[in-house]
Symmetry: C2
Subunit: 289 residues, 2 copies
């Protein structure tokens, strides 16, 4: 489908029209400020023309954003590995341009009327890997990796107040992160692990049993992997394959809980491998050996 | 950490102050409109007091939202299983109240000055399972399951325009969904599967090899599951466990690709099992047998 008007400069009101400083001229006075955005950074004069072309392209893309009457668009920061929505702010033209050049999620503070980079106080930057515009071009995702908890309260994300839970369970206060399925499961398994300290009356849950019995857990992981394979080997239906993969995932995550490993770490490994063609490279190496 | 001022009614300007109709009095005139929100629906008069208390609680929670000068807050719809950000709109008091009662993601259209429920035209509703408020109480996540593609263009989500890719690869138009790591990997494997039709010159990639060799793929899945188990049995370090789990996941996903199964289906199974204590129940049943 066509992406509308990328090269048509739209007439927009911008509260703080800016020249974009390209290449990277973003300075925040921190020694640990990563310069990993170097794919866009080049200093030699022979690249001057390329710089100009890039700057022009950035201006064109920014022109295509439908800034609101205050020159702002909604900007949502999302964890590239877990998918967690970390925070939401607003960005003006300069904030997006700064994010493009610095690769640190940068917003416009409406209360302080100033640009701010998440992490400039806490050091918990959000390292942006890609910026997405929505179909209407008035909403932006900063897809990136946070250096630490994003919320100023110390919470991993800013979304920890579940409205329906509050209404249904009549609790006045509750801190429950907005977790998607995989991380909700991880959280459940982690809770069962904590509960191992407490003697259980009655029949132990399956999760408790595999968490407290290494032999049982490992035999289940091998068994479920085998069952997953047999869905292919014995041409079982696709729903059976989905179900067996769910079993593999669940039991594997119980093992991770035993080892104190988060799924986010597993996904980070996969991201790094694939961005470096690492699995391909590793396997080819293995098969050559 | 404390959730601020849940019970303190804040002075807010609301563009369309509303009485909330509780229980479920949301009607959209569609026969397929789910009434699964029945946990909040009760008709008997003996529950009248409970209804009133619930209505009062909803009003209190809505009072705690920091509506902007137009009576709006940002509302982000997120896929509960994949974590994908589906769309972003704005919600007023009435839109959130409607979402609470109908469990269908509902927004306020600024251009049409009217409430709208995503799916009322396309039938692709977003079935909301939980609503989260952020720390500042001016941003909302509708965490739910979409019935189909969310974007009016037919795209799965509204975010498919990658800004940095556009800048770096000099492509004027590109359609690339904002995918987090797991789904980016899934997409890569799916591409390799498509490429199986085309004869490859040179050494085939590992992904291509396992996709085209069922025996090799299954032997790798069993091998990686075994290696994962051994990180526990032989007390290997936690990074080794993360790495082996990454291998299990990657090879398992290659098998899913062969079977035409999406990770989203696997996660949906896990969500249903855990919300129904299904795994617990299934395992207990198995162990009794």
């Amino acid at each position: 489908m066509a992406i509308p008007h990328l090269h048509s400069v739209q007439s927009v009101r911008v509260s703080s029209p800016c020249r974009i400083s390209f290449p990277n001229q973003y300075h925040c006075g921190r020694s640990n400020f990563s310069r990993k955005s170097s794919s866009l950074v080049y200093a030699s004069t022979r690249n001057f023309d390329r710089d100009l072309r890039l700057q022009s392209k950035v201006e064109t893309v920014l022109d295509s954003v439908k800034w609101d009457d205050k020159g702002l668009a909604v900007a949502i920061a999302q964890n590239v590995d877990t998918g967690a929505i970390l925070m939401q702010g607003f960005a003006n033209r300069e904030a997006v341009a700064t994010t493009v050049s610095s690769r640190k999620a940068t917003f416009y503070s409406r209360s302080r009327s100033t640009l701010w980079t998440k992490g400039e106080t806490s050091n918990n930057f959000i390292n942006v890997q890609e910026i997405f515009l929505d179909c209407d071009r008035d909403s932006i995702i900063y897809l990136g990796k946070p250096d630490g908890p994003t919320c100023h309260t110390g919470s991993e994300t800013c979304y920890y107040t579940p409205m329906l839970d509050l209404l249904e369970h009549r609790q006045d206060e509750e801190h429950k992160l907005a977790l998607t399925t995989l991380y909700s499961l991880e959280s459940t398994i982690a809770k069962r692990k904590e509960e191992l300290e407490v003697p259980e009356s009655g029949k132990p849950s399956w999760t408790r049993r595999i968490l407290s019995d290494e032999k049982l857990l490992c035999s289940k992981i091998r068994e479920e992997a085998d069952e997953l394979c047999r869905t292919l080997e014995e041409n079982e239906d696709r729903l059976r394959a989905a179900s067996e993969m769910a079993d593999v995932l669940y039991h594997g995550m119980a093992l991770l809980a035993r080892k104190g490993v988060k799924m986010e770490e597993v996904l980070e490994i996969l991201r790094r491998r694939f961005s470096q063609s690492g699995i391909e490279e590793k396997r080819n190496r293995k098969s050559q050996a």
